[in-house]
Symmetry: D2
Subunit: 370 residues, 4 copies
């Protein structure tokens, strides 16, 4: 991570502001010969797109991605892939009154302090709109993973909205795509819907969420002992998303409450079954390196600071001001973070797949009698 | 983060295994003219050193740091600072029986899978011993911060051991250095001591912990909007520490349960008092950039997997084996993680201080009537 | 340098193929508050643009640059600046016959060997057209340098075309802009023009060139002792340009023929005049760090391999083929490399200005009685 | 390249000053399982070591390398390899009189200007002694290349000393190791010896040199189209060596004088012979990517500025001073640059081998009927 880029061999640089002409990503280092057209990326963007249910911002963006370079005849060529998404539904007037005010809990203040100026239209670079570029880049990563590791599968979903968590005994992956919340617990959906309706219409408020992203079929051996730990890279990837304030791998913060005996994922091996484990507290990563178990990451998205309830703040001149953020905002921005978390997981895994075959050639130490 | 290095302008590379000849760090990019001798680094190493109380591993290491380059006449010259710590108390025989076994919850398995071989003596590169190099590098960062931002102060402490958290109403920073646990709650110390005694002597078990690190006096403007967010960099820094499985900034995972109204840190300004806030849910970072509030990070350290209780595992040949890890291990390795977390905080803040003055010249946008 | 990016704090990533939809650059890390509009960049592109004289390719490209992000109200905001140039005059049919042939001296062969496929239209990514993105990015660097170091001045010119070098005793900087060759020696212009005319019309051939780029007013202290030497960075920057095969700093390859006595640039100092030197064999860089003297770089551009004379080659099937490259090509592609070299110089100097003030704060060691 | 590091996947960081306690390198990212002991590195250091003939500095250094980490049982483990060389023959008093003077053509001045202070003992970080660390790191690269690409062979030699070049018609690779100058032209040896004798004893002078390094058996496909061109990386690697002021690939600066017809390396293919070329003006690199031909690099080393002849200079107080550099210096420091150039070639090729198999898996596009 540096500046506006992430990744080592599969390197993504994003650009663009909420209300500028466009936003996009340059994806460098993609393996050559991967089938890739706009049609491989668009569906992921459509999933993230706002304005699709009453629970997300009513801003309507087509979010149509255009591939400007890096492919020929429907295949990646190994050269940089430039992705662009035009902004079409900017209403700058919604924001004009806050150009000289600092919204509490928002980047307004710190951009001003650091840069001395900022693009006030729709939050500029700090807008959740930036995540569209991540999702587009993630679409490229998925295409490459599909070619290199056919069995790999990434699934994201919400496990907590506000104080309301899912009941894991009712977990049903098939439900995730059927509701407005990427919720795997059918029993939680209605409650969440009512709660969001209340927050938006009555309480003029917003709320946070926890997202979980799981990758199954990850080859063992991805990551590195220290600093370059796969945990580190995933933590950075998720924390780099707007509004994320906490990241967990496997048992996560809860690992602190475990004893060594309970935390140890016991190991088994069978000639046919291969490696298996009694549990997955490690979240699929031991010593910074993937073990072959599912890689499990969770992250917390704070409630958006843009709400219709008045909050106390100041202007750039230091004058006190009571501030209400009008405009079209998400009552639970965490919902749209689900495809974003999936995209970051895809980018990190692909990057480390390439890094690993760079250093080791992708050859694995064996287990079992030889 | 890449390979065994972290940082952008203040760049640290560590090397060394638990039972090799030595371990160390190369610190590159340090500002010139900073007063620095071994005496500025040694105290931080002494704080991390094992064998100082009955609650940490009885391995005895002098952990004496030697500066091999990069200073002249007691001042940094701007060239790479090479730090070395000789290993003196290795007892390799303790580990010889596990060379062909995989300890559950440990890097043994994944090193084997990735590299095809590993240094089995004391965990090799995956040993917590690596953190001595971090603490030494952190000592350099602290010296530079001391010269550049005199008011900056970093404080780390344990806020949870196993399921037992501190009572924040009894928080007393003055207590932190007075007990074996870096515990700021005098009421928790005895309970923790008894619990650890039980785990070690009777239960042959270990336990996790949560560490909090706070930096006061951080200048506003450090960090960057996306990817290079200060949150991202701190999350990566803490997650890169051995055995860390979760990282939080400010309200952290708890931000998910907050509403936008509660989460918003309201802003105030006074001609004399300057900027102030009603709360610090943001952990001192808004939009990825420091606001001037204290920067607050927490991380969870899992219980060490090296315990005297038998766990089920396999050998490299796939044979089942019941495994007990003898040797000298920490019942709560989180204790020694406190100075490590402080060191990583120091390194990240210095790096971003240099990055910021690189891009912006360190000039700040102003608030108030001019 | 890595992948398709260069620079550390001022980081440029370019993308695009000769005959794709567009090409461009993402410029990350630019200081905030720098006045920047398309009007600041376009003139540099116009200088590089083909089709302006009979001595360069007759392909006609408007090369109109569009700023898609990173500025607000005509000022840079510190966020990534996305620059795009649409391709308008592609004639893909000119190239269709060579899709399965490898032009000698061209990237055709190695792209095929590395990637297994390539974009054959106009050379794809290997086309000199990529340099338009560099020149656009260089325009941003110049704008920032203009704000930060007002006296800094970058001048590029051709000093050799084929075997015909300039006569330095006739050097006149005022002449550079007045002829088709960026030639500072008015006595060489007519001879060069005739030679190129012969090569193009009669000999169906092309020729190489040497470009010199000089930066005056460079602050001392830019660069670093080893690896990050300013010489290293400039060598990499120039060598990264298409078709460049040699780079020199100051006396360059000629330094090999000098004795230590002749090579030493003697030092003088006067209270009013400051530092001065007897000569500039070092090209303004001592020990990898700028001395305050003009920074002098030269690079050799090989003749383009796309000529109308038949050359022996093979097809992808291994069949021998006699190959003539039709299409619109530069008889001396070095001419258009002059603005490219200037752009790279600007980018490197700005990057190192930011790096230096990051590490040292931009404070200088003094000379003279204090 | 950044700070004191180079390489992407195979990353080397060096540290140490001429007269400090030690110098060394940390080599990160080496493939695991490579046989490596001190005995694999020491011979290359012995070749570079000063004090072996009357033509190099009489400083006597054992230059004994110690591997401190990263290997187990004689094999690399994939973790960082720390290499250390103790300084033993420092005579700091030789340099004490120049602590406040700036030697012309030397880093003294610019270190002072940038950092405000410097280690004056033996040139500190700017000493050619730093290259010992490069040679040690290069030894690791060679060991890895030996395991991965058995046929690859790197040969360096001097082709010019002062104005005296070799006669290529007498080129005999077998001669290189038999004389004090790594000279492949037996007819030049005596003349060079006499010339150096004169420079050292009578003229109190020094002289520059040109080194050529050739790598045979380089797999095709290493490098990348732009910025990451193999030419770029080699140019940076060689230019990063102390005192180097010019770098050429293949025809190099001479490519400027060639026409396209002469410069084109024509292509041939035979079912048994595979790919062949009529010439190698490209130096084995087309479009930034290796073609399978020998990779050819040349670089110019300027004459050392440390000579016994008086030169005009100034003190830090701005006072004029006539300066003679006593001490033990190389009359032609280029001689000892030969093993250094070989080491850099090895490091760059290994790095790009790993990069290539990271991105492409090392699979090659084929030629010939299928």
């Amino acid at each position: 991570m540096s500046h506006n880029s992430y990744g080592h061999l599969f390197r993504v640089t994003t650009w663009g502001e909420s209300h500028g002409k466009a936003l996009g990503a340059v994806v460098d280092g993609c393996p050559p010969g991967v089938p890739l057209t706009e049609g491989d990326i668009q569906p992921w963007l459509d999933a993230r797109r706002p304005g699709q249910s009453r629970h997300t911002t009513q801003r309507k963006e087509a979010d149509e991605v255009e591939i400007l370079s890096g492919t020929y005849d429907g295949l990646t060529t190994g050269t940089p892939i430039s992705l662009m998404i035009r902004n079409t539904d900017q209403r700058s007037k919604d924001y004009s009154d806050i150009a000289k005010q600092f919204r509490p809990g928002h980047a307004d203040l710190t951009y001003h302090l650091k840069y001395g100026l900022r693009d006030p239209r729709g939050g500029g670079r700090s807008s959740a709109r930036e995540t569209a570029a991540r999702v587009a880049a993630g679409g490229v990563a998925r295409a490459a993973l599909g070619a290199l590791v056919p069995g790999l599968k990434i699934t994201g979903y919400m496990v907590q909205m506000g104080e309301k968590g899912i009941d894991r005994s009712r977990f049903d992956a098939g439900e995730i795509g059927k509701n407005d919340f990427w919720c795997p617990d059918p029993g939680a959906v209605e409650e969440w819907a009512e709660y969001l309706e209340f927050l938006r219409k009555d309480d003029h408020n917003s709320v946070g969420a926890v997202i979980e992203v799981v990758a199954e079929g990850v080859p063992p051996g991805l990551g590195a002992p220290v600093y370059g730990k796969l945990d580190t890279e995933l933590a950075a990837a998720m924390m780099s998303i707007n509004a994320v304030k906490g990241v967990e791998i496997g048992a996560g913060m809860g690992a602190a409450a475990l004893t060594g005996r309970d935390n140890a994922d016991e190991l088994f091996w069978g000639e046919n079954e291969g490696l298996s484990f009694s549990s997955n507290n490690a979240g699929g990563i031991l010593g910074g390196i993937s073990s072959g178990q599912p890689v499990v990451v969770r992250f917390a998205v704070k409630p958006t600071s843009s709400i219709l309830s008045p909050r106390q703040s100041i202007t750039v001149d230091g004058e006190p001001v009571e501030l209400i953020t009008k405009g079209r905002h998400d009552p639970c921005v965490g919902i749209r973070a689900v495809p974003v978390g999936e995209a970051m997981m895809a980018a990190v895994l692909l990057d480390h797949l390439l890094l690993d075959r760079g250093q080791t050639g992708g050859v694995r130490g064996e287990i079992g009698r030889r």
